[in-house]
Every structure is written in C-alpha cells, then in structure tokens.
C-alpha cells in the first residue's frame, strides 16, 4: 500500500475515492503499471503529463475537473428536484421474509445515512395493510359523526377545499411503528439500523387540530371520551384514540408534510397525526372520525398491536412510544475507515415529551458520557445527539441511553425482558448495542 499512502492530498486508506477497486488490487499485488493503464484509457494524450503531475499532489486539485471548466445545466432541468446521481444507496428497503405479500408489509427508512431529524419524504418508512393508493383529492371527503346522536350535534362532511381554509398548525413530530425493533425481542436478528430501527421517521406536519372539527360539529366532551379514526383504503384502518389527546390540541388532521402535501404512501391527501403514539394510530387516507363513549377493539388493537406478556395475557390499547435512542453512525453493517476521530451521532425520542439527556457508552455500558443534543429540542420529535470519539483501534461496544423530560430512562434488554419477556413483538425500546472489532467492522449485538 506504500504508493497510495504517499500520494498527497488524501487520507489513508479509503482508496475508493481516488482509485478504483481494480487499481487498488493492482497496487496491492505489486502491478506497478496500474496508473499508466487507467490513464491511457482516459485519454492517451493526457496520460504522460498526468502521471508526471500525480507526484506533485492530488490530481483532483491540480487538474480542474469538468464541472469547474464547463457550463452547468439550466434551472428547472428537473422541475421536481431529485437527489444526486451519486446518492443511489440510501433507499427504503424491505426485510426479506418479514412479510409474505408486499401490500401488507413494511419498508424501512435508511437511518444509517440520514442527518438531523427530518426524514426526507421519499425515504419515510412505509407500512401498509392493504396496499397504497394515490387518492384524487377532489373526491376525498372527511366525515365526522357520533356513535350515536347524543354525542355530537351535527355530523358533518368536509372537503379538502374547506379543511385547507381552517386555522392550521405546523409541528415537527416523530412517527414510529409499534413493531419497530420488534424483530429483536428475543435475539439479534437483523444486521443494520435500517432494519432494527427504520420504522421511524420525523416530519413537519401541517393540518387542522382535530379539536376544531369536533367542536365545529358540536361534540359533547362529557360523553364522548374516545375517537375512532378510519382510513379510505381497502383496509379502512381503524384505531381508537383518547379524547384527552384531542382536547389538548395536539392531534392534527394533516395534509402537509415537510412543506408539500403528504406523499401517497404516507396518506395523501389526509392523515391523522397523533404525537407520541405508535404509527398505526396515525390513520392514513383519513376519511372518517367517529366520537364514542367506549373504545372500539378494532382488528389492529385486538388481534395485532397487542403485546404478549409472559403470563399469556396481551396488553391491549398500548399506544405510547416510550423513550428510546439509537446510534446511527457508526452502526451495524458499517466499517470504520481508520483509527482516529469520529463524530458519533444518533437519534433519541420519547412519546411522553421532550428528550432531556442522552448518554453514550463506548465500553458496553460500564461508563457513560453525556452527548450534545442539537436544539431546538422539540416535543415528541426526534432529537439528534452527537459525541466526540477517538477510536484507538481496539474492540468497543457503543450504546446510547435516552432520558426524557419525565425522568424516564431507556431500559436495558435485561430490564425490559424481566418485565415483558421476549414475545411481545411491540414496543421494544431497549438500549441498542453496536460492537466494533479491530478491523473496524461494526455489528449488532445485545448486551443485557
């Protein structure tokens, strides 16, 4: 590797930035003509001077590239902008074998490469129960009614035209599927943070507080203590939501996501936003709200999204996503380039409010250091944390531990399993561990 290391202008080793895989192999196997060969392919006339100049410094500096010496593309070449052609790796992906049919499945967000707290709308995780549709907004209606007439004075119908005239609110909130990290209840099962924690996204949502609509219909809050939300898709997904949350004003009937309309996969043109509560309650393609005096025990709160306890009982109407965190860089399935400095970065969130503190351990939980939280810290939103680390090339186990404003501290696997066993599927908020070995490879492990 001597030649590579001596080349100026670059850090060792990361050769793929500068040399192709084959070139690296050629160097490693002692084929000294690798540079000349590749430059000949690039242009025979240029080859000799460039080889000569390579010894003076980084060719990326010494030779102006095409983008510096030519005219770029005009505005609106992409009327709806798309990521760089070099950004083809971070995609929503399915976990093979998790579901049998794509219409009742999950795609995970690539947390391992995202920054800050906002999930790009095109990378937002997906969970559909009966496929997704691109609904014509001019034909979409929202109905509000009561389980009987005494709960609501006047059942009403709203169009998008009307909803978008009403007072709106814009708020940043995380959404996490209740089954996020569900594959890991019993043991390590999947390799990367995309598959362990990727049923998690965070967006700015814009919409009408549901409270305004219920009051507009003359709701009787004394009697109507539950809300049923229903979707317009084939599954007509239904979930029971507590009226206390609606009255607080935090539940939104949202149409906006990150400055534009919701994406079809996320419920275009209307979805419910139920901050802090698992994703299944954020009913997509929302078409109906019913107020009632009792909970509804719908399929996805009576057969699924119920947590099996060691006693054989299932917890029903478990809704909140408790405090949780995960390191996203470095994380499972990644390899550190070299020893030295790293900004260790991750996400923390709590369905019970704001994140107060995140601690990070590099020794599997014996000692902890408090990480920097990137503000402003928002209510029931992802919070980005960062902490400096100098990797000495020795094995390490990285963990993060969130504390929320209620003082609740994220549990270890040992603590969580002691109460809930290993078969619960839902609401796994245990501390995640990433093991680093000498080669720099990071992998998923569980520490009790």
């Amino acid at each position: 590797m001597g030649d590579i290391v001596k080349q100026p202008g670059r850090l060792r080793p990361a050769p793929e930035n500068f040399l192709s895989e084959d070139q690296v192999k050629a160097v490693a196997t002692g084929r000294r003509d690798f540079l000349r060969k590749s430059f000949l392919a690039a242009g025979a006339a240029m080859a000799a001077p460039m080889v000569a100049r390579a010894s003076e410094g980084d060719i990326n500096i010494l030779e102006n590239p095409a983008w510096t010496t030519s005219l770029g593309l005009p505005v609106a070449t992409n009327p709806y902008g798309v990521p760089s052609k070099y950004e083809s790796q971070l995609l929503r992906r399915e976990s093979p074998g998790l579901a049998r049919v794509g219409g009742a499945s999950v795609s995970f967000a690539p947390l391992q490469g995202l920054f800050g707290i906002i999930t790009p709308s095109g990378l937002h995780f997906e969970r559909h129960h009966q496929g997704w549709h691109d609904i014509d907004p001019s034909k979409h209606r929202l109905m509000v009614n009561g389980s009987d007439d005494s709960l609501l004075k006047k059942p009403k119908v709203y169009t998008l035209d009307e909803l978008m005239r009403m007072p709106s609110a814009s708020r940043i909130h995380f959404i996490e599927c209740g089954a996020n990290t569900g594959l890991e209840w019993g043991n390590v099962a999947v390799p990367t943070v995309q598959y362990t924690h990727g049923m998690l996204s965070c967006s700015e949502f814009t919409g009408v507080p549901l409270k305004h609509l219920l009051e507009d219909c003359g709701v009787d809050y004394k009697k109507a203590r539950y809300v049923l939300a229903e979707g317009a898709d084939g599954s007509s997904m239904t979930r029971t939501i507590p009226m206390e949350m609606v009255e607080s004003g935090e539940v939104l009937v949202a149409y906006g996501q990150n400055g534009e309309m919701l994406r079809p996969e996320n419920g275009y043109p209307l979805r419910l936003v139920v901050p802090g509560v698992q994703g299944v309650s954020w009913v997509k393609w929302l078409r109906r709200i019913e107020v009632g005096d009792k909970p509804y025990a719908t399929k996805d709160e009576a057969v699924h999204y119920i947590d099996l306890m060691p006693s054989g009982l299932h917890r029903q109407y478990s809704s909140v996503q408790e405090a949780k965190s995960v390191i996203t860089t470095p994380s499972g399935g990644q390899t550190l380039l070299d020893q030295g400095f790293y900004n260790v970065s991750g996400l923390a969130w709590s369905g019970r409010g704001r994140i107060k503190q995140v601690d990070v351990s590099f020794d599997g939980g014996i000692n902890w250091k408090t990480a920097r939280l990137e503000g402003p810290i928002q209510n029931k939103a992802l919070t980005r944390f960062n902490i400096n680390w100098v990797w000495d090339g020795k094995p390490a186990i990285l963990q993060s531990r969130a504390m929320d404003e209620t003082g609740f501290v994220q549990p270890s696997y040992g603590q969580l399993r002691a109460v809930r066993g290993t078969k619960s599927i839902y609401h796994n908020n245990a501390i995640q561990s990433w093991k680093v070995i000498e080669s720099g490879e990071v992998s998923n492990v569980q520490v009790l």
């Binding site: 009403k156 390590v188 995309q194 009982l313 299932h314």
Partner: protein, 349 residues
C-alpha cells in the same frame, strides 16, 4: 357602572354557550352529513355490538363462501400460513370454558392464530366486513359475513355444523370465545385518562425504571446475542446500502460481483407488482397461484396460449393448477393484460 356590568353579563352568557352549545364555528365550512352518507360509511361494530347489522348465515353457506372468496389465501380450513398467519387453530374446549388460551402462557403454541388472540368477536365481524377479501374489500353483504364467521367458528370447534349465526345469538359466542379473558389494560401505555378516572390503564406509569448511572455501572459486559452468520447476508450487500464516501463504508457482506448495481426492474414487473399479481405469483415460486416459470413451461409450445391466458387472467377461474381460484382482473385494460401475459410467457424478467 351600568355598562360595565352589562358587558360582564354578555361575556358570561357567551362563555356558557361556547361550553355547551356552540358549533358551526367556521362560517361556510363543512356541511351536514345526510343520513344516507353516514349509513354508507359508518359500518364499525363495537365490542358491545353497537353498529352490528341485522342478518344471519349458516356454517354451510359460510363454507361455500369461504372456499370461493377466502381459501385462496387463508387455506380451506383457515390454516394457511402462505399469505398471512393462520386464522384458526390453537384453541381448545378447555380454553372456551376459562376464556384464556392456555397455549399462550405454556409456550406450546407454534403460531398465534387469530382465534388464539382475539377477545372480542365483534372485532372479527367488523374486520371481515370492512377489509376482506383482501383484493375485494367491502364486497360482502352482512349475511355473507355472518355465514363466513359461522364457518370459522365451526372450524374452531365452537359451534356445530348446523349452526346459524345471527345478530341475535352473536352475544352467546362472545361468552365462549376462547381468549375472551386474555386482555389486560393494566399498563402505562394508554395516552388518555386512567381506569381510575373512567379511562384505560394505570395513568401512564412505566413498567421499567432504569437509572442514568454514569461511572462503573457494572462489573462485566454480558453479550447475550450476536448477529447470526446467515443474517449478515440475508439483507443483501450492505456495502451498497451506505454511501461510498463519508466517515464509514458499508461492510462488504457478499463480495465483489454482488456489489454491482442491482438490475433495473422491468416495466412489466412493475405493472405486475402494482396490480397485485405478485401477491399471488412468484417468478420462480408458487404463492397462491403457480409461479410464472411453471406457467411458461406449461404453455411454451402452444401458439394460442397468449390469447387464452389473457382471457383467463381477465375472468379469473380455477381448475388448471388446483382448486384455488384466481379472482377476476377485469379492472385491468386489455392491452395491459396482454403485456403481462406476454411478459410471463417470455420468462418474467
């Protein structure tokens, strides 16, 4: 003084009226739903059977309907694991007495079926009525739902073969439902009022209580589980799931060749996926229907195969590959059906 108190009076009245009576708060926005509209959409059925439509259906009729509309995905006896977890099985006569499915605590259950979990029979009625069959939701009449549910109850050995389920006797079924006592709401994860205040659960009290210890928090690190070798490669080439620049690289899990860019998905494959064909057919594997490659090898020497298959896919039908029917696909344009069949007959690449 006089004016002052009058203002207070007006305020007091206004205040009282907002609390109890005010509605239609946004002039010109929204309109009253008609009774027919509410009836069309308000089909939910609650555990106390509020919303339950009148009707009835027999086990026999239910078996007929189930075989026609449900068995392709859930198996003739609701036992199939191919498209989704089984609907039926895992419950005993004893469970019907206790209202607790014993297999859930003893760990003897290989799979949690629908009937091992559900504690409210309304849930199953409501769900079938709103969402099944999966590819044609809301096509069942109430009588069909009663019949199908009667058949499922018979499969679960809860009712005899001559049973007729109706809005009158569904309450009796609730009393023998095997896991009717299997739910608890004694937890802190409901986000509304607690049971003590007329709501659900313990009012948000968590069940774990970690401490933010900072130094020498334990003496040893017990790694309880590591990534199994098969799982390291089961999610494809991890190198390609990370940027090729930045602080880290994806770990190379599959080696050089596999790291090449994935082949682009063909437009026909996209069409097949969009139209639900891939829910029932794999290219190389049977799901509910035959694999496309099996179809290809059966018809590859038949010149009229294309037209016949287009007609078959459009109309649906059974008998060629077994007793499971393919639902009709009349919603597709003829030219799209042609494209799909051509694609299947040329190897589904």
């Amino acid at each position: 003084m006089f004016r002052f108190s009058k203002t207070i009076l007006v305020f007091a009245l206004f205040g009282a009226s907002t609390a109890a009576f005010a509605f239609d708060n946004f002039k010109g926005i929204g309109r009253q739903a008609t009774p027919a509209e509410v009836k069309a959409w308000d089909i939910d059925v609650r555990p106390d059977f509020k919303g339950l439509p009148k009707g009835s259906g027999s086990v026999d009729k239910g078996q007929e309907l189930f075989e026609e509309k449900c068995a392709s995905c859930h198996g003739t006896f609701g036992e199939s694991n191919e498209v989704f977890t089984p609907l039926v099985g895992g419950t005993t006569k004893d469970d019907m007495k206790t209202g607790r499915v014993k297999g859930l605590s003893s760990g003897e259950l290989p799979q949690r079926t629908t009937f091992t979990k559900v504690a409210t029979i309304s849930t199953v009625f409501d769900y079938i009525q709103r969402a099944m069959p999966w590819t044609a939701p809301k096509s069942l009449k109430p009588d069909d739902v009663y019949a199908i549910l009667a058949y499922m109850l018979n499969l679960s050995e809860m009712v005899p073969a001559d049973f007729v389920l109706s809005d009158k006797n569904i309450g009796d079924i609730q009393k023998i439902l095997p896991n009717r006592n299997g739910m608890t709401t004694d937890h802190g994860m409901w986000t509304g009022a607690s049971a003590a205040k007329g709501g659900i659960g313990n009012g948000g009290k968590p069940d774990t209580s970690n401490k933010a210890c900072m130094k020498n928090c334990k003496t040893e690190v017990k790694v309880a589980s590591s990534l199994p070798d098969y799982a390291r490669t089961a999610h494809g080439e991890l190198y390609d799931q990370n940027r090729p620049f930045g602080p880290v690289r994806g770990t190379k899990t599959l080696g050089g060749e596999a790291a090449a860019a994935p082949a682009a998905v063909s437009p026909a494959m996209e069409m097949a996926t969009k139209n639900g064909c891939m829910a029932c057919h794999g290219v190389n594997n049977k799901i509910v229907g035959p694999s496309y490659n099996e179809v290809l090898s059966r018809y590859k020497d038949q010149t009229d195969a294309e037209d016949r298959l287009v007609a078959k896919v459009k109309a649906g039908g059974q008998g060629v590959w077994g007793s499971i029917p393919m639902p009709p696909n009349g919603h597709l344009k003829d030219e799209d059906l042609k494209t799909l069949v051509k694609w299947i007959l040329s190897g589904a690449k």
